[in-house]
């Protein structure tokens, strides 16, 4: 049973060709380019959503931080659309793969840290020591702050992977339980079905929230460092 439960998480290949590349590129097809002053409905809805998100996320940054707008907005669009598409039946979600999330988290976090060190060297180093610590505690606190700095990209990646993977697994398990219970007791199966519906609604929310959290944290690291 264990082997088949995780079958939907293996990298998809078709006749030896890695079609995972096509699956990763698919969400970009759902965001058409805006050419005109008045666009079609799909593009108008997407433009409105993206403008709302941009205003919400990028107003807290300075001029220097706002140069990262394109990167952060495309990040949230990508993670959000990939997570939502993963809720369709039989689909493969690239963000369940730790390799991909690490590939997104580490360069972005490293970018913010290096930016901070280059432009505000004293302030970035000062982050390692909170204000008002007693003298004997200083060495230990610096070690702790360094560890907490280096754990940031790992936490970003693992948070996204674990949340999405756990959600998909729960949906599979509870769905299977509902079907298995149908032949035993209809009432219990009905209750389990209600749980499945609530879980699916939760998963829709989680898909969007995770995208937001990822991007927000990167933006926070950026704010600290610009």
């Amino acid at each position: 049973m264990n082997e088949n439960l995780f079958a939907s998480f293996i990298t998809p290949t078709m006749m030896g060709l890695p079609i995972v590349v096509l699956i990763i590129m698919f969400p970009s097809m759902l965001f058409p380019s805006t050419g005109r002053l008045v666009n079609n409905r799909l593009v108008s809805i997407q433009q409105w959503l993206i403008r709302m998100t941009t205003k919400q996320m990028m107003t807290i940054h300075s001029k220097k931080g706002q140069t990262w707008t394109l990167m952060l907005i495309s990040l949230i669009m990508f993670i959000g659309s990939t997570n939502l598409l993963g809720l369709l039946p039989h689909s493969f979600t690239p963000t369940t793969q730790l390799s991909m999330n690490l590939g997104m988290a580490i360069p972005l976090w490293a970018g913010t840290v290096i930016l901070g060190f280059r432009h505000k060297t004293k302030a970035s180093l000062a982050h390692f020591l909170p204000q008002g610590t007693p003298l004997p505690l200083i060495p230990m606190l610096i070690i702790i702050e360094t560890i907490s700095l280096f754990i940031q990209p790992m936490a970003l990646a693992v948070r996204l992977t674990a949340n999405i993977t756990a959600g998909h697994l729960l949906i599979h398990l509870i769905g299977g339980a509902t079907l298995a219970l149908m032949s035993i007791s209809m009432t219990t199966a009905f209750i389990t079905f209600i749980i499945l519906i609530l879980l699916t609604v939760l998963e829709f929310a989680v898909a969007l929230i995770q995208a937001y959290v990822f991007t927000l944290l990167v933006s926070l690291y950026l704010h600290d460092n610009t």
């Binding site: 049973m1 939907s8 079609n40 039989h90 299977g176």
Partner: protein, 93 residues
């Protein structure tokens, strides 16, 4: 004046059945040609169903349904090994 359109420039629906193999051989199978075919297909679909004044949910839904069917075909081999009902429906035993 009767003008005969050369075989290469005819569209698929105008090609006679006997000419079909030679018409297929004359199509452009270079990477550029294939990319052009995908682009033409994309723009045909986009301009017919999405880039319209009162587009609805159907345009995007057809794309998502095709995506679901594509993924089903991709995982058919795994699914066909399942024998009982929950396994058939959800893809795991």
């Amino acid at each position: 004046m009767a003008s005969v359109v050369p075989l290469k420039e005819k569209r698929l629906m105008e090609v006679k059945l006997g000419e079909l193999p030679s018409w297929i051989m004359m199509r452009d199978f270079t990477p550029k040609g294939i990319a052009g075919a995908f682009q033409r297909g994309y723009h045909r679909y986009y301009n017919k169903y999405i880039n319209v004044k009162k587009g609805g949910v159907a345009g995007v839904s057809m794309v998502l349904a095709a995506y679901v069917i594509f993924n089903y075909c991709r995982s058919y081999k795994e699914l066909s090994k399942c024998l009982w009902l929950p396994c058939l429906q959800w893809g795991f035993p």
